[in-house]
Symmetry: C3
Subunit: 676 residues, 3 copies
């Protein structure tokens, strides 16, 4: 639902920091924003020091002026609580708000996202400020949402956190004995006799760098719990501020800006506490269109497949990559429509006016250092603004009609990458991208679902590298398959429970019967070394990990081509009830995943919305009013193809007949609806 | 002597951790171990927390049960003292047992091998536990050895260590003046006036990272002494436990599991305090057969060339390499016989039953997570067990008839790699492997000897990169050569004394007259750059370091082919008394070392035991009963060749006539004795 | 003026540490030094611990003997104050002298250059020692200079520095508000309300590692100020010692040994406080002749283009590079004459006699470990000594007749490389070397000038990557051009003021009108990716950063060849008054810079002193007596060419006629003057 049902247009705007500028500049900003068709601003993201100059002193004077200006000029406002960075005076007087890092170093004042989430000072003052803001601006009906803090993240290992972690464990396990079992402390004699013997797992205790530099732990159980605890601690901070606001303005939705595949925070748990999902999309220049789309789909998925807000993107350039490439002409527009195609109901920039100092001064903005409106970037922003105005609410609250679900689980991500063995080359995101990218290349829409989500809405469910099979998951998979679903999983799945304790009896543990196999061994291959297999006449590589398995009911679709396990199964299919379950026992290449999923989708009757040339993305969003088709040209060149039906171009009003040649410019976009 | 003269069979078994399992599993374990022909177990490696739940509370109940079960089921026991990891409660109550790392960070509870070796708490409680265990199980005559702690290692820089280091220095040097001379503190005005001014050399004081990442020191003297002190401190811990046991059970030998070329501990000094040597062999997947053999030979060498125990190896896979490759079919058997061929009297695994949690759960075991006996690994273990049973004591206590000694010295290792200049590319182990690998490829048996060991047993002594020439060594080399020995050393040798102080008068210092040369300069070459020389008509590369030398009695066997020192000697030979001494003034390639040593061995009359194809290892062990010949197929393929004599196959009873074709399967092994 | 006008010969010698040796060695040293034509020594560089064994105890006995010996044997002395490393007892009793590193770790005793520059203890005792030395040796008229401490460097973040930094800021900014503006603290709510809220910017506060490992900051303003403060703090230490000496011996010049392009210290500010510049030249084996020359020219430039002292170079080899290559025969001589050609009036070595212990024992020396005079290195030193004796004062105080200035500014160096975006590949020294190397390859002499230096002496001024345009600089550039100068600058110039705050209105800020362009965007290219352009018919690459610009009066000399900005200007020329200004909007390759500068020099009428083959350096120094031409053969082979005029060979007395063939041996040198 994003900004809420009463918003009947696509919001367009971004972070605005007038407090960095003299007031005479504000009028010019208003003029330029209007020229660019901007209709909303996010305010007050980093002003704690200004709003609260001292323990009991608050100063809203400048913010009052800004709020008043925005209201009078007709801008909607997403109002931030400013708690993403604490004031310097607070750090000096209350060192408990400063974090301690994973090497045990107490940090000093500096940076942002710098507050210990278990600091009583931080919690007290943050919630108090949120409440005060809500009270002060409760009557501003142009506030469309509250934005808590900013990009929550990082981790802390201070004494406050240590104490809170012990309490968290006590609540979770009840007895030290239960905790010992879950942590498997009989190993290496790590048995705890008292909660107070627990120390946070970090580089001073259980963590270390692997030979190849990855952070690893000697006790996965406690390390997983610390990740959960750290995520929960920050989520509590979010909730404290949210509740302080809700008490005053219960009608306005509350969010915070997430960051896609951000490992430290379990966003699936967070989204349950947020009124809607918003996120900041900063793809790396080398990310593929599929990788960008996957992030959008994850963000849509955590919110129950509801629409979301693109809270931040750069209009042109970032500043924090090793090299910061300009978005090419049309690229920002293309990425904006891609966001919309995957569920965004608002398109926002960081930021409106470029800062003149500090580390983000070379980050792109709507209004550049030159302060001119005759820039390429401003022109492109203006064009997009006009288009979005044209589109009004045509796709708002539209949903993606996915018949395929890919399971993604933060606990599993953490667990796979804390695992000591079989290979540091085994990365959870790689496995997820393997399958997602194949589906994306065929324009088959995918929902990213969590381990607790229902499988029943889907024809096909893919759970790549489902190393950790949490309680209930195997049962739901079995039932899904028995009732006709197609399930796919991969190497090194079904290994451990939610405590990272191995399921006895052989791999893939609770999935053995669904898959009809027993995996006896896992062979890890070094970089540059591959096995191979033949699938339907084509040879594909097997890399990273090769599972050595026995058929226990399943049939082999392909076998290893080399080494001592030559001829043993690598891909299997097991029929169960009216469905079937596939196991892909190794990591292969993009050509294989596309070949394999093509067959799966054919068997399942899953189809793309239209047929378009390679490199053109076709995505549908449907609401109770329209089914909107987005065609997005990622090919890097002009492309022409025959229209697959009769369509109306929502931006130009043109209509196309089936068979008529459509032309997509380089980075071009068509927003269509059926008929014409 | 390994487990002692009363053991008349090859022991076969490994680490067993029944305390991680419910008792009902124990019976199944016993059944499976017996099926696999396992006859011994190592118990109690990590149970300190279980055995001592509190300051004055000890609880042996579960261990009693396990010990009783093992005795009643007929298993021999290697009993560990459990002090390899301290209990959590002890860390909380006695922080002095926690180590401080090389960056000055006090560690917290976590990991293993985590106790400060100079902690009074640790020393007190560790020795007390060892004594209590000895008293409790003194009547178990199935105890074949005591196993102190586990894989001693690491280092500590805490305040306890600082104080102990000062005492250690005081004892070594007597006066501050002597210490100043040894440390060369006149340099950079580092003169100490009081023992208490000494601080441990680490990254907060004298150590730093070189431009290419290596740890280096500004004062080699103090850094070498800290390495010696740290090794001695841990050795004292070993001795304290050993003595606590000896007071009660003087008849049972005491060991601890070493780790081959483990840099921090001077095992040559350690072995003098151990009743027998045992070690854990975990070759990296990329290690060559020669590198594995070299480790065995080192471990045999530190024990005075006596047989040793292979305390741990994995049956299939490790978990801590970046990628963990399965041992191929036959590979574990091949490596086990290789260990035996180089001096092992027992073959043991880590571990019997695979753990279900924590960081070693993906390390291979006799009994896998599946708990099944129909696995490839279990079958191979069973086969090997049966074979070892067949062999009985045929090679026990057998010695390797080596006529070649390679000198290896921990002090020299430390010193070479603390050296600031001439090249970080100059690595001691590389130089040792160069010569060892050449001899290994010709199946010439080699003893690895220490700087204090006698040279007289050998025809040829090689001292690669003998940078540090400790007192007495040059004299013994001279006498060895004068009496007919062949001595070989290399570039950058004879440079410093045991304090890392340069010998005046020109390189190679005290070896100048034996070698008949003067090395004027050392030219370090960058990666990828080489000089060259011609040796007996073949051209070889010169890399890493090129010594520029003058003949002072020696003759040149080869000269540099390029650069301004073209035509000056690179390999020299000096005749002295009835022997001769060679100097190889650069690092070359494997072909050269083989060519060169072939000539040396020919001149010395050193021969391999038999002639076999390339890639087949032939090694002999002889005791007062048999001369056993091991043929080990490392070629990676089946190999056939003519028997060089009449042999009896000790595993099958077959006999072979000279000239008869022998077939070695891939990874195959033949255990033979003369006659047939 | 270097050692002063009364020195009428080239000083030749180096660091001498007799305190490391027994007195009987001293006589041999004297003999060898005289043999090598050495006429001066630098004494007492690291003897603080010896000179001050306790709080109030000083012991000059050994130094007295050394000073007396040097005087009686006729050696001139550069006397060091010994404060480059503090005594161990001082570190133990006064921990405030120990530094705290950028990660907040308090260091312990060890290393050198280890004193906190703001430690009251250090300042007190260092100045006191300097004063005592001056008083004791005031009557030694063979002291030609005082040498304060040694290679000042590094940085400290301790509590003393924190307090001093706040005072430094208070003095600079007057009010917290001014400081907030300069630091742009409105960003991220970093507003300070009190000086005491300021903490040093380091890895515990504002600094972090970029994805590619570079140190970066979140607030450039405070980080720049900390660099300035740290440089100033050490400079204060220098001045304190200098003043203590001047009070006693005002007639003797005071220096300290600098290190060329040493980033932490703003040598342009330092040189103002030094009586003459001296520096230590340790080129990396891979440095080009141009890079070595550039360092000399920088060192000459900071001293107002006066002559300088080559305080240290190695006669043969260093010890601290990853691999330490020997200087080839003639290479030390070639480098020594190159130093002289670029302004050195003295040639000195580190060191006279090689140390026998600690980390510099493998650093080359005049007298090697062998202690022999029949070494290659000693012979070369002796030859050079004889030559320098021959030359007497022929080029002393000679100046380089440069018509080209390259602007180099420490603040700009710091700022460019603290910048978050657009590319970590953008490195200031690379940009400077691009232009310098091109000029060097044409033997066009260049002065390296600072941001405050006059531009009027030059025909051409190049300011590569002038990111930070400090106050007054743009004005001086404009006036320079208007009056007929040729000015060149590059991509990403004119962006920020001295606080790293962006100039509003568009890039290149205050240089817009001089250059006649507006740079709208900057596109950063990844490694391996290039754009291109055609300049006078030849195609050249465009890499690292591509500025996208508009002409505002300038003309385009070349345009981009690819990408969406194909056809837009990349190199521009703007005529202003009687001069012109060029903008090179990207980084190209060596061929381009040479092509481009060839044209510039032609237009400006700038010429090399003579025409010589590629790879032969020709450099002139002129004093009121002679114009001396140095021809230096860097080609790596013998080279012959026709003399461009009538010359006299100052080393041999030979004369050459114009057109006569001159032969330069490999690494050869000719020192010539006009006529013959």
């Amino acid at each position: 639902m994003a900004y809420g049902k009463k918003i009947k247009k696509i919001l367009y705007g971004g972070d605005y920091n007038p407090e960095q500028w003299p007031e005479e500049v504000w009028q010019e900003d208003v003029r330029l924003m209007k020229k660019a068709h901007i209709n909303m601003v996010t305010l007050n993201v980093f002003s704690w020091a200004a709003l609260q100059p001292d323990e009991d002193v608050y100063d809203f004077e400048k913010l009052d002026k800004i709020m008043e200006l925005m209201r009078s000029e007709g801008f909607l406002v997403c109002l931030a609580t400013s708690t993403g960075a604490h004031p310097a005076w607070m750090a000096r007087r209350h060192p408990d708000i400063l974090r301690t890092d994973a090497e045990g170093r107490k940090r000093r004042f500096g940076g942002r996202h710098n507050s210990c989430p278990n600091s009583p000072t931080y919690r007290h003052y943050a919630a108090k400020l949120a409440g005060k803001l809500a009270e002060r601006y409760r009557d501003y009906d142009n506030i469309v949402a509250w934005h808590i803090s900013n990009e929550f993240g990082g981790e802390c290992y201070c004494e406050n956190c240590e104490r809170a972690f012990r309490e968290w464990l006590k609540k979770k396990y009840g007895t030290v004995e239960n905790m010992n079992r879950a942590f498997y402390t009989a190993f290496w004699g790590h048995t705890f006799y008292d909660w107070d013997e627990v120390v946070p797992p970090n580089f001073l205790s259980e963590h270390f760098r692997s030979q190849s530099g990855e952070e690893r732990t000697m006790f996965q159980g406690i390390s997983l719990d610390y990740r959960r605890f750290n995520s929960d601690s920050m989520l509590e901070c979010f909730c404290l501020e949210r509740d302080a606001i809700r008490r005053v303005m219960p009608q306005v939705p509350v969010t915070t800006n997430l960051m896609g595949f951000y490992k430290p925070l379990d966003y699936q748990k967070w989204a349950k506490e947020m009124d809607f999902v918003s996120w900041d999309s900063y793809p790396h220049p080398e990310d593929s269109p599929a990788e960008v789309a996957l992030n959008h789909d994850l963000m849509r998925g955590i919110g129950g497949q509801d629409s979301f807000v693109l809270m931040e993107q750069t209009p042109s350039v970032t500043n924090w990559h090793p090299y910061n490439r300009l978005k090419r002409p049309g690229e920002m527009r293309l990425l904006s429509y891609q966001a919309a195609a995957h569920g965004a109901d608002a398109i926002q920039f960081f930021q409106i006016r470029r800062t003149m100092g500090a580390c983000e001064k070379f980050h792109g903005a709507v209004i550049d250092h030159a302060g001119r409106e005759d820039t390429r970037v401003f022109r492109e922003i203006t064009q997009l603004g006009a288009e979005l105005e044209t589109l009004q609410d045509v796709f708002l609250e539209g949903r993606t009609p996915s018949e395929v679900g890919i399971l993604f689980d933060w606990d599993n991500w953490w667990a796979v990458e804390y695992s000591a063995g079989p290979s540091v080359r085994m990365k959870y995101l790689d496995a997820v991208k393997d399958y997602y990218t194949a589906a994306f290349s065929m324009n088959v829409p995918v929902d990213i679902i969590g381990a607790e989500d229902a499988l029943t809405p889907y024809k096909v469910v893919i759970a790549p590298l489902l190393y950790m099979c949490k309680s209930g998951v195997a049962e739901r998979i079995r039932s899904f398959v028995e009732n006709g679903g197609i399930f796919i999983t991969t190497y090194f799945s079904g290994i451990v429970d939610e405590h990272d304790l191995v399921y006895p009896g052989g791999y893939p543990g609770p999935l053995r019967d669904v898959l009809g196999i027993w995996v006896e061994e896992n062979d890890a291959l070094p970089d540059g070394e591959e096995n191979c297999f033949v699938y339907e006449g084509a040879q594909y590589p097997a890399a990273v990990l090769c599972d050595l398995m026995h058929l226990c009911g399943a049939e082999a679709l392909a076998s290893y081509g080399r080494d001592f396990y030559q001829g043993t199964p690598v891909i299997t299919k097991n029929t169960l009830g009216s469905g079937c379950a596939y196991y892909v026992g190794t990591r292969s290449d993009a050509a294989f995943y596309r070949h394999f999923l093509k067959n799966i989708f054919r068997d399942a009757g899953v189809q793309p919305p239209v047929t378009v040339p390679e490199g053109v993305e076709a995505a549908v969003r449907g609401n109770d009013r329209n089914n909107v088709l987005f065609l997005l040209n990622h090919t890097g060149a002009q492309t022409a193809f025959a229209a697959g039906g009769a369509w109306e171009n929502l931006l130009t009003g043109e209509t196309y007949q089936a068979g008529q040649t459509l032309v997509l410019e380089k980075n071009g976009v068509l927003v269509l609806k059926n008929g014409g």
